[in-house]
């Protein structure tokens, strides 16, 4: 006996969840491929947790259809769905030992006690807690409790494994380690996982795909790379990776790229599929480089290469510099890997743009 995967895909078709008149999730559709880890990302109250709970069956959709493994489960209660969940609070049963906690799902599903215990031990081994079975949850550290919660969800070999902000109660170092462990387990076992978080770094690190939600609807979904490099709207651009947002003008499109004017400067960006006219430029902090302000005739020339800025703040961080700049287009935040020749605060400089890391979105 070993813990295997029965991964299945998840599909939402026009799902809406209303509380009285307020829609927590509004006409949402998406597909999650079997064996992938998809993150629901968004600020508090965006509907991501409600979406997750609808997959679990802890909330019922007001309208629309939910399929798991191609089967309609819209009206199926949580008990009868083959979906397990790791809760933000871990929800370890305080009156049971760790082993009993992990074996719980097996025992209630009618697995023989001995088999359940064996499998629970295996599950604990898998999360690196072999030998902790006889303790009570209160006798474990936060990270250990978290692992128990994961083991408990794993041993049922769910079609879908859900994580509701599983790392939010851990310290930063532990969080990084746990998220890597979760990702590793998921890939090793080929699990379908849905992961809710509001931490975009965490989302980028663990996900095959990310569904960004805002105000009850999907803002954008795609791979981490797509979302980072080609945000479709201001919200996504801002929420993921923290872009500088400044006004520009789309002047032409051809062959998958578009040309955008920023003052006298023109930049090439991936084609956003917008008509010519005013757009918003989302510029990643690492897509800007600083060089000392040119003087004399070079200054005229420079206007077509970059924009003049004043350095308001320069912070040395070892691996890179962080700058706060003031420009005629607004304030900019820059991460520059060049630490050998930093530009001091108060100096004037020229900001240039690398080709990558700039996207145009609608205003």
């Amino acid at each position: 006996m070993s813990i295997a995967s029965k991964a299945a895909g998840v599909e939402f078709r026009n799902v809406t969840r209303r509380y009285n008149t307020v829609a927590a999730v509004d006409d949402v559709s998406f597909t999650i491929e079997a064996g992938t880890l998809v993150t629901l990302l968004g600020p508090s109250g965006c509907g991501k947790t409600t979406t997750l709970r609808m997959i679990a069956g802890l909330e019922m959709a007001t309208s629309g259809t939910i399929l798991i493994g191609g089967k309609d489960v819209t009206r199926l209660p949580a008990t009868d769905r083959n979906v397990t969940m790791v809760f933000q609070s871990y929800a370890l049963f305080p009156h049971m030992t760790v082993a009993d906690n992990v074996a719980y799902g097996l025992v209630v599903s009618g697995v023989r006690k001995r088999d359940a215990a064996a499998k629970a031990a295996e599950g604990l081994e898998l999360v690196g807690l072999g030998g902790y079975g006889q303790r009570l949850p209160s006798e474990l550290s936060g990270g250990q409790q978290q692992r128990v919660a994961v083991a408990r969800a794993l041993v049922l070999e769910p079609e879908v494994l859900l994580f509701d902000e599983p790392l939010s109660n851990l310290d930063a170092k532990l969080r990084r380690k746990m998220r890597d462990d979760i990702r590793e387990l998921q890939q090793k076992l080929g699990l379908t996982s849905v992961y809710v978080t509001h931490d975009q770094e965490e989302a980028l690190a663990v996900s095959d795909r990310i569904i960004v939600m805002n105000k009850s609807v999907i803002a954008q979904s795609g791979t981490p790379d797509e979302l980072y490099r080609r945000p479709k709207n201001r919200f996504v651009a801002d929420f993921i990776g923290g872009a500088n947002l400044i006004d520009g003008e789309l002047v032409g499109r051809s062959g998958g790229t578009a040309t955008v004017a920023l003052g006298r400067l023109t930049l090439s960006v991936p084609d956003p599929g917008l008509p010519a006219g005013e757009v918003l430029l989302a510029i990643r902090p690492n897509a800007i480089r600083l060089r000392p302000a040119p003087v004399g005739s070079a200054a005229d020339n420079a206007a077509s290469e970059g924009i003049p800025v004043t350095v308001r703040k320069a912070t040395y961080l070892g691996s890179h510099m962080e700058y706060g700049l003031a420009s005629e287009f607004g304030d900019l935040f820059v991460v520059d890997p060049n630490v050998s020749n930093p530009v001091p605060a108060g100096a004037s400089a020229l900001a240039t743009f690398t080709g990558d890391g700039i996207a145009a979105v609608g205003r």
């Binding site: 009868d80 599903s109 009618g110």
Partner: protein
């Protein structure tokens, strides 16, 4: 199907609920009334038990006896009117029996022993149109704590007027007539002796000497026995009972005359054991049945002239009984009027 294991257990729970329901339904089948005579009993529990046993021995009919105060019994009979579960109401003051008769809750029945009964017992029969009859009488009187009286060197009360003496200030207990039939009898008695206005003047003065209007008619007897108060106004047999129990009490009948209650028996209309009910009724009127009272230390005056009067019983001949007008003071209307007046003039000034 990971829930297949579950539903078996859940079905087990369902069956559990079902079994509970089944038990409920099975026990819900009312105890078959046939064969067992159900009697509500208005006297002390020993007497209830004694007469039930005696009747069972004599007739072979099983008796289920339940003790209820007069008000409780009437309320129960009234609530059950659509589908009576009770056959006989035995004992307790005559007033509520009359009320039940007035409301048509009880059945008219003529006994061959009618001619053997005391006149007061026959009068209960006439006033109720044959629906109720007297089985014993108890006179209203005083009970007092002899120890306390001796300690304070106070003369025992002999007359209604004595109760107004200043040395009895806050030393008298009497029940609230709104709650107790005993106290209503006292109220009606005073009205009949003194006339209504004078009676209320008397009660207003008495109010200064009353420390408590109890809710139960026999409570003052218990309070006197436990030295909680000096004097109580009660039915005399309640006081005698305390005396027999070894308390330093004695009883007295008021010199101006006093009222009395007629303990009565009625057959419930709609009784499903009518023959047995009639047999019990006859037994309750017979000397044999009435002897069960004295056997259990109950010292009311039996209604059958052939019955032996217990020596401890207050001798009704020696007591000045007034010609108590049950007809007038038993009606709901008069009762309500007097009680409202008592409420307005006495109760509202009580502390």
């Amino acid at each position: 199907m990971k829930s297949t294991g579950n539903w078996i257990k859940s079905a087990g729970l369902g069956l559990g609920i079902l079994a509970a329901g089944a038990v409920l339904a099975a026990t819900a089948a009312p105890a078959k009334a046939q064969g067992t005579l159900t009697v509500l009993c208005g006297v002390q529990e020993e007497w209830c038990k004694a007469i039930a046993v005696a009747f069972e021995k004599k007739s072979g009919t099983a008796v289920a006896m339940s003790r209820k105060s007069a008000g409780e019994a009437l309320a129960q009979i009234r609530a059950e009117a659509a589908n009576p579960k009770t056959d006989v109401w035995w004992g307790g003051p005559g007033d509520p029996h009359l009320q039940a008769a007035e409301e048509g809750l009880t059945l008219a029945y003529e006994s061959p022993q009618f001619k053997d009964l005391q006149p007061w017992a026959q009068s209960q029969y006439k006033q109720s149109q044959g629906r109720s009859i007297g089985i014993y009488a108890g006179a209203l009187g005083f009970t007092y704590n002899t120890e306390l009286l001796a300690k304070r060197k106070i003369q025992a009360p002999k007359c209604w007027a004595d109760l107004l003496r200043p040395e009895f200030k806050e030393e008298i207990q009497i029940a609230n007539p709104n709650a107790s039939g005993t106290a209503y009898t006292a109220l009606a008695t005073l009205v009949q002796i003194l006339g209504e206005d004078k009676a209320f003047d008397y009660l207003k003065k008495l109010n200064d000497n009353v420390n408590q209007y109890t809710k139960s008619g026999s409570a003052p007897a218990a309070a006197v026995a436990r030295s909680e108060t000096l004097v109580g106004v009660i039915f005399m047999h309640d006081g005698i009972n305390q005396k027999i129990n070894g308390f330093p009490v004695d009883v007295a009948a008021p010199c101006e005359g006093t009222g009395y209650e007629i303990g009565s028996v009625s057959i419930i209309k709609g009784s499903k054991n009518l023959d047995a009910a009639k047999a019990f009724y006859e037994f309750a009127l017979s000397p044999e049945g009435q002897a069960t009272g004295a056997e259990t230390k109950q010292f009311q005056m039996p209604s059958n002239r052939k019955s032996a009067t217990p020596p401890e019983a207050p001798n009704l001949e020696a007591i000045r009984l007034i010609d108590y007008n049950f007809q007038k003071y038993g009606t709901a209307e008069e009762r309500k009027r007097l009680l409202s007046r008592w409420d307005a003039e006495i109760k509202s000034v009580a502390r």
